[in-house]
Symmetry: C2
Subunit: 433 residues, 2 copies
C-alpha cells in the first residue's frame, strides 16, 4: 500500500477505525512513517494519535509542526490531549499550548500540574453533572438541549450547590424511571470518589474491585473536577501489568517500538547491576579455588545448585510481586504466606535434592558427593523460597517498586548461597582439603 | 472481629461492598473461613462469591451444600453463576444445576457447552435488544414497562426480526434524542461482534483496542446470544497479564491463595525441566575438566558469562512475549524487531565485554584471559538477544504459549553457549592445554 498510490491508500484506510490506522503506523518501519502520514493526510487525526503506541506517537509528533499538533489535540478529550502533549519538550509544549483555544489550554495546563500517572492526568473534564433537586424529566430535557455535545457518557454525577458530588446515576436507571421522579431518589449515594492526586495504578485497582464504569474525581476541597472512564482503565491495567513483567526481567520500559538508544541505556544498567551480583558469586567460588583444583567435579556441578536455586527464587518472587501489585499480599497475611512458601520450598527442595543427589552419586561413583549436593540443593531452594517473599515485601514496605529491584537481590542471594553451601559443605564433609 | 461476636461482625460487614466482604475471606486463614461464613450468614451472597479469588471461592463452595450454592448462583448474571459452577466436580455440578430454576439452568448449561475461557463463558444472557423500527420513545416506554428488571446496562442492541444484530446505541445518544426519532437513525451500524467461541484473551484485546464498554456476542448463525461487558474484561486483562508474569517465571497458576499441593505440583515440574537444562550446561563444563584443573580462574569466571547472558536473554524475551501478547509483534515486523534487538545486544555485549575484560585482566594479571572472557561475553549476549526473540516467536508460530516454555529454552541456550564460548575460547587461545 505504501508504494506510491496515496489516493488508494487513503481510500482503503478511510474505512478503518482510528485504532486500526494507529496499528498501521506501528507496523511500518520508522523511516516509512512520515510517508504514511503524508499519504493519509487528514485521516491522521487526534483519535488516531491517541490510540498509538507511546514511542511511535512521540516519533510522529516530533515530525509534525506545533500548530498541527495543537490542531489535532484541540479536538480530543482532556485526557487524550494530555497524553499527546505531556511527553513533548518544554519549548514545543509551550508553543502547542499557546496555539490551543483558551478553554482547552486551561484544562490541559491544569492537568499538567498534577503528577505524572496520577488521576489528574487520566481524567477528562468533559462530564455531565446535574443538581439533586432536578427531576428525571429535567435531566432528559437538559441533555436534549445540549445537542452540540458529542460526548459519550455512561453515568451522570449529581452534585450539590458547592459542586460536591452527592451521588451517581447510571443512564439505565434514568431511562427506566418516569419523568416526574427526583434524580435524588434514583441516584446511588455510595460511590467511589477518586482524589485527583491518586496514583493511576491505585485508581485501576478500585475500578477492578468495584466493577466501575466511570468514577468522579475530586480536588482537595472535595469538589467534582473530572471523570475517569473505564476505557482508560483498561489501558492502564494492561500497561501496568506489562510493566511488571518487563521490570522483573530488567527490561525497564521495554517495548518493541522503543528506540535503540533508550533500549540500550535501560538494559545495560541492569546488566551492569547483575555483573555486580555475579562478581559476588565469583568471589565466593574463588575462596574455594583449592578445593576445585583438587576435585573438578565441584566445578562441573556447582552451576546446577545456583541455577535451580535461582529458578525457585524467581517462581516465588513472581507470585509475591503479583500479589503485592493486586493488593492481595498485606500485613495480615504476610506471615501466613511465608509459612506456606516455606512448605512448598521444602517439598520442592527435597524432590530436587533426591534427584540430583542420586544422579551425582551414580555419575561420579561418589555417594558423599551426592549427599553434599543434595543437602546444598535443599538449603538453597528453601533460602530461595524465603528470599522470594522477603525481598519484594521488604522493598514494598520501603516504598520501592518490588518489580524493579527484587530479582537482582534474589539472584544474588541464590547464587551466593548456592556456591557457598555446595563448596562449603564439600570442604566441611571432608570431600576435599 | 472473628473472635466471638457474630452479631457485631455482621453489623460491621453489612456496610461493606460485596468486594470488600470477599477481601475479608481472602485475608483470613483457610481454617477461619467457615467460621467467618457462619458469622456473616446471609451477607455471604452470590455477589460476594463472584468477587472472590478463585482458590478461596472453590474452597468455600466445597464447604457449602449444593442447594445453598444453587441458591446463591440463581441470583447472579449468567457469567458470574458460570464462574462459580464451572470449577465444581461433575456430580456436585449436576446437583446444583438441578436445584436451579429451569431458565437459569438452561442458560448456565448452555454456557458450559462453550470451551473454557471462551466468550460464551464470559458473556451474560441478560441484555436489552430492540427492533430497528422502534422509535426512541418506544424504547424508553419499553424500558419503563420492564421495571422489575434490575439489570444495569450501558448500550442497547438493535436487532432485525431474525435476531441478528444490526447496530448498537449508547444510552447517552438515546437520552439526547427526541422521542419521535427512529432508533435506526440514532444507532451506530459499525460494531465489534464477538463470536461465541472466541478466546477471552482475544476478546479483551478487542475491547482494549476499540475502547468498548460492551459488545454483542453472536452464535455461529450470527444471532445475538449475549453480551460481554467491560467490567469482566478488566478482570480478564488483569488476570491474563498476571498469568504471563507467572508463566515466564515458571510459577504456573501461582497465586498466594493456591493450596500447597497444587503449588508444589506446578512448580516442581518447572524445576525438574530446569534441572535438565542445567545438566546440559554441566555436561559442557565436564568436557573442559582438564582445562579447569589447569587454570582454576576459569571455574571462578565461567558463571559470570552464563549468568549475564541469561539476564540479557530474559530482557529481550520479556519484551517479545509482551509484544506477542499484545498482538504488536506480527509477521510484518518480526525481522525489523530482530535486527533492532541484534543492535541493542551488540551494544550491551560490547559494554559488558569491555568491563569484564579489563576487570579479569587486572585481577588475574592475565590479559589473554581478559580478552577470552570479553569475547565470550559479547558472543553470549548477542546469542541471548537473538534467542530472546526467536524462541518466543517460534513457539507462538507453533501455537504454543510463548510465556510458558520460552525461558527454559532461552536459559538452556545462554548457559550452554556461555560455558562453551568461554571454556572453548580459553582452549583455542592457548590459555590452557
Amino acid at each position: 500500500v505504501e508504494t506510491g498510490d496515496d489516493e488508494a491508500a487513503r481510500e482503503l484506510a478511510g474505512r478503518l477505525h482510528p485504532a486500526d490506522i494507529a496499528d498501521l503506523f506501528e507496523q511500518v518501519g520508522r523511516d516509512q512513517r512520515s510517508d504514511l502520514a503524508a499519504a493519509l493526510s487528514e485521516l491522521l487525526d487526534g483519535e488516531v494519535l491517541a490510540e498509538m503506541n507511546d514511542f511511535v506517537r512521540e516519533d510522529l509528533v516530533d515530525q509534525l509542526d506545533n500548530v498541527q499538533v495543537a490542531d489535532l489535540a484541540g479536538n480530543l478529550e482532556t485526557d487524550d490531549a494530555v497524553a499527546i502533549i505531556e511527553d513533548m519538550e518544554a519549548g514545543d509544549q509551550r508553543e502547542v499550548l499557546s496555539a490551543l483555544d483558551p478553554d482547552d489550554r486551561a484544562a490541559i495546563e491544569e492537568a499538567l500540574t498534577y503528577p505524572e500517572e496520577s488521576a489528574g492526568r487520566v481524567m477528562q473534564r468533559e462530564l455531565v453533572a446535574v443538581y439533586e433537586n432536578m427531576t428525571v424529566g429535567d435531566v432528559i430535557d437538559y441533555l436534549r438541549d445540549n445537542q452540540d455535545d458529542t460526548l459519550e457518557f455512561w453515568e451522570i454525577f449529581v452534585v450539590d450547590t458547592a459542586h460536591h458530588p452527592v451521588g451517581t446515576c447510571a443512564l439505565s436507571w434514568i431511562l427506566r424511571t418516569p419523568r416526574e421522579f427526583l434524580i435524588s431518589d434514583v441516584m446511588k449515594r455510595e460511590q467511589t470518589l477518586i482524589p485527583v492526586d491518586m496514583d493511576q495504578e491505585e485508581v485501576a485497582l478500585r475500578f477492578k474491585k468495584y466493577g466501575l464504569i466511570s468514577a468522579a474525581v475530586t480536588d482537595s476541597s472535595g469538589r467534582l473536577v473530572g471523570v475517569i472512564t473505564v476505557d482508560d482503565i483498561v489501558d492502564i491495567i494492561s500497561e501496568e501489568a506489562g510493566e511488571d513483567i518487563l521490570r522483573l526481567s530488567g527490561a525497564g520500559e521495554g517495548d518493541i517500538n522503543q528506540p535503540v538508544s533508550e533500549a540500550y541505556g535501560g538494559r545495560v544498567r541492569w546488566l551492569i547491576a547483575n555483573l555486580g551480583t555475579a562478581l559476588v558469586a565469583s568471589f565466593i567460588i574463588s575462596i574455594f579455588g583449592a578445593a576445585i583444583e583438587e576435585m573438578v567435579a565441584l566445578a562441573i556441578l556447582m552451576p546446577i545448585v545456583a541455577s535451580i536455586g535461582g529458578n525457585a527464587g524467581t517462581q516465588t518472587m513472581a507470585v509475591a510481586v503479583r500479589a503485592l501489585a493486586m493488593n492481595e499480599l498485606t500485613r495480615s497475611n504476610t506471615w501466613r504466606t511465608i509459612r506456606k512458601e516455606l512448605t512448598v520450598a521444602t517439598l520442592n527442595g527435597a524432590t530436587i535434592a533426591i534427584l540430583i543427589g542420586i544422579g551425582a552419586g551414580l555419575v561420579f561413583s561418589n555417594w558423599l558427593l551426592g549427599a553434599v549436593i543434595a543437602t546444598a540443593m535443599l538449603v538453597n531452594i528453601v533460602v530461595a523460597g524465603l528470599a522470594g517473599v522477603f525481598v519484594p515485601v521488604t522493598l514494598e514496605r520501603m516504598d520501592q517498586d518490588p518489580a524493579v529491584a527484587s530479582s537482582v537481590f534474589v539472584t544474588m542471594i541464590t547464587d551466593s548461597i548456592g556456591f557457598l553451601a555446595f563448596l562449603g559443605l564439600a570442604v566441611a564433609a571432608g570431600l576435599v582439603g
